[in-house]
């Protein structure tokens, strides 16, 4: 007899892979991807074996009947950060466990989550600019330095958003954005405004910190996902190197002694 919640593994499997890859692309830790996929599979009485790599997911589904099986892989071009997708899918997984949605309902909700609009560009630029100024204050900057840092962060992020839309290599993107921010700070300093270089210089590039992979790297290591942890850790290191290179480029351009 067929259980009422039965869904075909050949339809359910690809959907599960899409959910997993959406989470991975949105910057979830390996453990979160795994537990969410296992939770959804369990709701439809499937046993799931899943392998999570830094940029791809492979899975095999087993139903109670040995013939219901599915094996597949999905990969993603790049991993970013989108908390709306992570929280949306987390909610979705709990709804599925409680209400046993149909495959179509899940697919529609997933598509809705993926296509949710982000914050308007100007809002992001302004709020991140204020965050830059806030950083500057906590590191000991005064009002003038905060104002300059706001401007530099605003322009740096503008460059980053533009380059990201043009699909520029992410490390190069970080380098050029840091360069833009630091060039502005350097210009104000050179103009002889009495700006304290250290506070503004360091805090204008902090919006480029890859905070999510940095913490995910440790989370993965603690959870025994060592390979993914190392991959994310190295990713963070290369971004940090790109920021440092941009700052040193600006120091050479303006002939700063540090």
């Amino acid at each position: 007899m067929q259980v009422p919640t039965f869904v075909d593994a050949r339809i359910f499997g690809p959907l599960l892979l899409d959910i997993g890859i959406a989470l991975l692309t949105a910057g979830a830790s390996s453990r979160r991807v795994r537990i969410t996929m296992v939770r959804i599979a369990a709701a439809y009485e499937y046993e799931l074996h899943v392998d999570i790599a830094p940029k791809s997911i492979s899975l095999t589904l087993h139903g109670s009947n040995a013939q219901e099986a599915f094996t597949g892989t999905r990969s993603t071009a790049g991993v970013g950060v989108n908390f709306k997708i992570i929280s949306g899918i987390s909610r979705l997984s709990w709804t599925i466990t409680e209400k046993k949605w149909s495959i179509n309902e899940i697919r529609n909700e997933l598509n809705r989550l993926i296509n949710l609009p982000g914050y308007p560009q100007l809002v992001v630029l302004l709020v991140v600019g204020i965050a830059g100024a806030a950083f500057c204050y906590t590191f000991g900057g005064d009002t003038f330095e905060m104002l300059i840092t706001f401007g530099a962060t605003f322009c740096g992020l503008l460059v980053k958003q533009y380059l990201a839309r043009k699909s520029v290599n992410p490390y190069f993107c970080t380098y050029l954005s840091a360069l833009m921010a630091a060039l502005l700070i350097g210009a104000v300093y050179k103009a002889g405004t009495g700006l304290q270089l250290e506070h503004a210089f360091t805090t204008s590039v902090l919006f480029l910190i890859p905070g999510v992979p940095m913490i995910n790297s440790f989370t993965d290591l603690i959870e025994g996902e060592i390979l993914n942890g190392i991959e994310r850790g190295f990713n963070v290191l290369i971004h940090a190197l790109a920021i440092a290179l941009a700052l040193s480029t600006v120091m050479v351009i303006y002939n700063f002694q540090g």
Binding site: V81, K84, I86, V128, Y137, F139, I209, I215
Partner: protein
């Protein structure tokens, strides 16, 4: 004395805005933004207050305490807002990233590649000092946030009961 605590409060207030900026940058849902600001405030307050109140504590220990408290606080907030705890915890601790130490480390490394003669050992020890602080603060932040969420092997913090 009063003035120093006022300063701690103001710094924490701005830490909240730094966290909020990262929340928006990471596209956190609108219903979580106030909690992210509060998380940044809490992280900043605990760090600067413990630096003030515990003599000889140092920036690494204080950052760790702040990150652990934010990590623990994110669990009940995640319950009430129905989102994973990392959505509060990660933006909230980012204001504590040691940017100035990282910058000084980079400057030091650049100086070491040049011809600086007798200053060499002084620059070397300063650079190592700043580099070690940077590394350990970042590790303290990441571990501090991650540990409360991984202390049990249950599949979700939703299943942790406080009673």
């Amino acid at each position: 004395m009063m003035n120093e605590w006022f300063d701690v409060g103001i710094k924490a207030f701005w830490c909240g805005f730094a966290a909020l900026g990262f929340g928006v940058l990471f596209n956190a849902p609108r219903r979580t933004l106030f909690a992210i600001w509060a998380g940044g405030f809490l992280a900043g307050f605990v760090k600067f207050a413990s630096l003030q109140a515990i003599p000889g504590s140092g920036v690494i220990f204080c950052s760790f305490i702040a990150a652990v408290i934010v990590g623990i606080a994110s669990i009940p907030v995640a319950h009430s807002r129905h989102v994973p705890p990392m959505i509060f915890a990660i933006p909230s601790v980012i204001p504590l990233v040691p940017g100035v130490f990282a910058y000084r480390t980079m400057l030091g490394l650049m100086k070491l590649t040049g011809n600086i003669g007798s200053e060499y050992s002084q620059v070397l020890s300063d650079t190592v000092h700043n580099g070690v602080i940077t590394l350990f603060v970042i590790m303290a932040l990441s571990l501090g946030v991650a540990v409360p969420l991984h202390i049990t092997t249950k599949d979700s913090v939703k299943k942790i009961r406080w009673k």
